[in-house]
């Protein structure tokens, strides 16, 4: 689960964000809606342990994220948080499957080829596993980035605008996959987006202003 308390982030004296407290239990979902410029990416990065907030902290389980320093935070993030980005980015020089292996390696997890094969199968990417990521279609890339977010069985899955570039059909498919697989690994799912279509899929949502 994830919980935040009193997060404030100041980029400068004139630009600062104050975020409402967020809580999302294991196997539950939360939609964070907000228009451009309200600090969505900032919040996401704070939640992911990428950007240390000026004040406040993020708890994953009982661990205060920003109580961790340096490479411990990196390791913790790799192991416990799966990130899905708006534009899927991969390591270009290796194959789709190897991108999953890399996620295991970077998080300090043992190589589990069986798990990656299962995930690729579940996300209908089995036939693309030796493809380079830049050879894949947008939909395939988005599914692969979901597979990567899931590979280490994290406690939290964070998705940043996962659907904004997709049509309605693909949008629904991606959200269904995210929900289904988060549940499978017993993770909390937090989606940050401006995409109002997603309101229909989530019972819990928060709007940023």
């Amino acid at each position: 689960m994830i919980k935040t308390s009193n997060i404030i982030h100041k980029f400068s004296d004139s630009v600062s964000f104050e975020f409402p407290d967020i809580i999302c239990e294991q196997e539950k979902t939360l939609l964070v809606l907000g228009q451009s410029g309200v600090g969505k990416t900032t919040l996401l990065h704070i939640l992911a342990g990428i950007l240390k907030p000026t004040s406040g902290d993020v708890f994953i389980g009982n661990t205060p994220l920003y109580g961790l320093k340096g490479h411990k935070l990196d390791k913790f993030r790799g192991k416990n948080i799966g990130l899905v980005f708006q534009k899927p980015h991969f390591v270009q020089s290796v194959t789709a499957e190897e991108n999953l292996f890399l996620a295991q390696k970077m998080a300090g997890q043992p190589l589990d080829k069986k798990l990656s094969a299962e995930l690729l199968d579940a996300l209908n990417l089995n036939h693309r596993k030796t493809a380079k990521t830049y050879e894949m279609s947008q939909g395939e890339q988005q599914r692969l980035s979901i597979a990567r977010a899931l590979i280490n069985k994290p406690r939290l899955i964070l998705a940043d605008e996962p659907t904004s570039a997709l049509d309605d059909k693909n949008c629904e498919e991606v959200i269904k996959l995210l929900e289904q697989h988060s549940e499978n690994v017993k993770a909390a799912l937090v989606v940050v987006t401006h995409d109002n279509r997603l309101k229909d899929f989530f019972s819990n949502n928060i709007e940023l202003h």
Binding site: D74, K75, F90, A107
Partner: protein, 469 residues
Amino acid sequence: MSLLKLAWKNIIHNPLSLLLNLILLTLGIGLINFILLVNHQLKDKFDKNLAEIDLVIGAKGSPLQLILSSMYHIDAPTGNMSIKEAKPFLREGHPLIKRSVPLSMGDSYKGYRIIGTDYSILELYDASIKNGKKWQHIYEATIGASVASDLGLTLGSTFKSSHGFNDDEDLEHEHGTFTVVGILNETGSVIDQLILCNTESVWDVHNHDHGASISADADDNSDHDHSHDDHSGHDHDGHDHSEHDHSEHDHDHGDHDHDGHDHDHDGTTVHDHTSDMSRSHLLEHEDQEITSILIQYKSKTNFQALSMPRNINQNTDLQAAAPAYEINRLYDMMGTGTKALQLIAYLIAIVSAISIFVSLLNSLKQRKYELSLLRVLGGNSKSLFSLILLEGFIMAILGYLLGMFLSNLALSGLTNNLSEKYNYQFESWIMHGLEIKLLAATILLGLIAALIPAILAYKTDIHKNLSHG
């Protein structure tokens, strides 16, 4: 998927810049190693062939030429000297001289030099007989190991010598068919490349050629019996025959019957060709010539010995040259060329480092999102730092391996050419002892080139990169 593998994949992901980096690196390292290989072997050969020779005495001319021709057998001799002049140094019992080796040159067979000498040369180069025996009679030859293997000569093989040192059939002597009676064990020194015979054989070949006084009996040279001291002043070096006018021969021969083989020898100069000419015998032929003398001192630190070269050069028509000094001079001369080449090699290596630096920096710009991604996935700053360093490292190793391969390939390609010219075998695919240093330097080069990109990767601001990704 280890970092090393990822680094490798990243490198080959960009084949064009890899190619450019490797070409430069390979050229730089290859050239450096090539110079090292050649230098190492030249020094090795030169040092081996020093054979503790302290002095070379010969006709006046260039001292370096004298050394090169008499010790390394790669240049034309300076000319000849008469035995009369050389006598003091050849005599046994000289107070300063431990060993002296007379050399008579001028002929070769298929590029291998024929040296008229005595058995002292075997002691000098520590050579021993592998097959057969030492040369004894006139026109008997004992050949070095390389001569035997390269020319396929075996015991009993016969050959005719050619005038000069090039393999030129037009210059083949009509007289003098040598027979191989012995083959030496390999020594690694220059004697491997030589055809040894007694001094008379060399004289005889030239006497036949230049002496109109003696009729042709080339095929029957084993048992003829004439006095060699009759034929004075032949230039074994053989480029200037004008001095030897025949009247001299006529005079010398007096009333010998030149048409027949039945030379009427009288007096003490008659000698028996069935035995090797002993040193004292050699010295009796005062009017004959030899090319040079290799000398070992009894004591290298003896004051008189040290002043011997100067005495010879100032007070006689002979020239004395000290190998150690002349060879150092030669190294100095070669050094200028080598240094220029080395400088070019270093420059190329530095350019290759710059090229690696630029290509890593460029790829870093393209990959800043990727690097942030690795951080998001749990990799830490140190992993990114190591990743970039590894990329430089791998390129350095590749460049090193290719450079070593290329330099050895080039040398083995040149070997034939060099061995034809100088009769020196350059070996490729050997170690010269500096490989590890070169490897370390190459790796250092790769790491230095990768250092700044690696530091930039270390400092990756993932929030910033991902926000603008």
